[in-house]
Amino acid sequence: MNSDIPVSDTPVPDTPAPDTPVSDTPAPNTAAPDTPSEAAISASDTPVPDALTPDTPAPDSPAPDPSELAAPNAPTDTIGSHPTPQPPQPEVTVPQVRLKGEDGRLLLLLPPESDLPSAMTWTELWLQLKNRLQAGERFWQLNSPVHLMARDRLLDARQLQDISEALAEAQLQLKRVYTSRRQTAVAAATVGLSVEQQSAITHLSQTEAAGQVLAEPLYIQTTVRSGIEIRHPGTVVVLGDVNPGSSIVADGDVLVWGALRGVVQAGASGNSRCMIMALRLDPTQIRIADFVARAPENPHSQYLPEVAYVASGGVRIAKASEFSKERLSP
């Protein structure tokens, strides 16, 4: 798998790239970055919403040291590649437990099983499910029927029972299990759930069709804590804080009604028109499509709601109040 792993003599390109386009007018009160390519996230005190901070477009000038600044799923070609929008990833690659409303029922989608090291273990899947259930209570009707889309994941009777109980705690009823695995189907039947066994092919074609359009926004009410990663093929709205050590990867926008302190990526499949907004924008790192920006070394004393977006080849930050006036009005 890692046949090309040998590291070159210069394992990581050094930070400053000579051709880094830096905005000429560093904003007053903006913590001045110590290198030209230092991407800074800061702006609340500045009058002009645009071109607020010197910041760095990703692929042409590797700002954070890891050389490749493209989206994590991006094809790993050489440094200095141009930001090419990614084709939408098929939904299959999102290793995430998802809950999705459809025709008055709730679908619980489990990530597919695979031999990759990135495949989730049952423990990880279980943690994610519990997190997701706790974060979303308000967003579904009580006693809604839930259909479990297990895809090709092997689940034993005990695990199905656990899922069913976890759903019951959140006032949801597990009604039906869809699976492409015979063993899972048998296990579900033993637990007393109605089962529908699907062929693996139908499930593949379904997911590919879904990959073209953004999924409906994911609404969660929780503190996103260290170690939690939320991936969603659409917009993510968090009512709560996003703590350092956590990450949100969304194909659409990311809105945080709270403090954003973790790593957040919007437009993960390549759409640089996506935005990140937070009541308090104090992130470890933000990425929009292929662009990456880091927080300035010196933190702000005062925070106002801010919006991060991509303009003229870099990530920009604007005060939310001014952003909506200047950018969104025609």
């Binding site: 798998m1 890692n2 090309d4 792993i5 040998p6 590291v7 070159s8 003599d9 394992p11 990581v12 050094d14 930070t15 290198t35 954070p64 040291d65 890891p66 050389s67 490749e68 600044l69 994590p72 799923n73 790993t76 990759l116 090291p117 990135s118 273990t121 423990t123 990880e124 260290s226 170690g227 939690i228 990663e229 350092p244 050590g245 956590s246 990450s247 790593v263 470890t284 790192q285 990456v292 880091r294 927080a295």
Partner: protein
């Protein structure tokens, strides 16, 4: 031939990560090419102590999954270009990696780096097994407390069983004044139990906490501190130099007299 050293302890909170960060940085300052690997998947901290958290784009898990190349995941330290960090994934657990995969990663790094320092998680389960899989040497970190020493002893046994034979002991967070009053285990008490060669004694120092919170290893600091000196001495000893141990016995003394004694006798 590069040296692959795991920093481990058994017990948590004794200073493994602090030691990894400072020793890695001090090795790099001496001109070695150093890679520090965070093997603490799910509870990574080494990036914080090195102040590199906001530079992480890829982690070891993505390298293993083939989603990026190894060199893309290596985070270079701006202050010290000889040092790189291979970060652990924060959103996974220890089971996300196997000892075989760890060996593969480390072996790929040996082609470029002289020193590979692996920061082990606490405990002796999967994460520990991963951390020691590729190691040829180990630095055992302990504090002068019964529980820490007991766990360190267990770890020494496990390392020997796993063919990591070159072991060295670091005693961290010693309080000379308490030792003198017989309220704390002394260096020799600890050594008597563990019976592995001592490579360093690090005094308890509040500045360690400050440097940890700032993400700036103590050895980078402009102002001298005994703890930083102790880390630098460990590194010199790793390099094969004979360095006398700092005399920590006298309480409330100033740095000058410490240094004077340091050039004088060996405790």
């Amino acid at each position: 031939m590069s040296r692959i050293i795991v920093v481990t302890s058994g017990k948590g909170g004794v200073g493994k990560t602090t030691c990894s960060a400072n020793i890695g940085m001090a090795l790099a300052q001496r001109g070695h090419k150093v890679a520090v690997i965070d093997a603490d998947f799910g509870l990574r901290n080494l990036d914080l102590l090195l102040g590199l958290e906001n530079r992480i784009v890829y982690t070891a898990v993505e390298v293993l999954a083939g989603q990026c190349r190894l060199e893309q995941a290596l985070v270079k330290d701006k202050r010290q270009p000889n040092l790189v960090l291979l970060p652990a994934a924060q959103n996974r657990t220890k089971d996300a990696v196997t000892p075989d995969q760890m060996r593969k990663l480390v072996n790929a790094l040996t082609k470029v780096f002289n020193y590979i320092l692996i920061d082990s998680p606490a405990g002796i389960e999967m994460g520990f097994q991963n951390a020691i899989a590729a190691a040829k040497e180990a630095l055992i970190v302990t504090t002068p407390e019964i529980a820490a020493v007991r766990d360190a002893d267990r770890v020494v046994g496990l390392l020997e069983a796993n063919d990591v034979k070159k072991l060295h002991l670091i005693i961290n967070r010693i309080k000379p004044a308490m030792v003198q009053q017989d309220k704390m285990m002394s260096v020799s008490d600890v050594q008597e139990i563990l019976a592995i060669p001592l490579i360093g004694v690090i005094p308890d120092d509040e500045r360690v906490i400050v440097s940890t919170n700032k993400g700036e290893p103590l050895v980078l600091s402009q102002t001298a501190s005994t703890a930083a000196l102790a880390f630098q001495n460990i590194v010199r000893r790793l390099d094969g130099e004979k360095v006398p141990f700092i005399d920590l016995t006298a309480p409330n003394d100033d740095l000058i007299s410490r240094i004077r004694r340091f050039f004088g006798s060996r405790d």
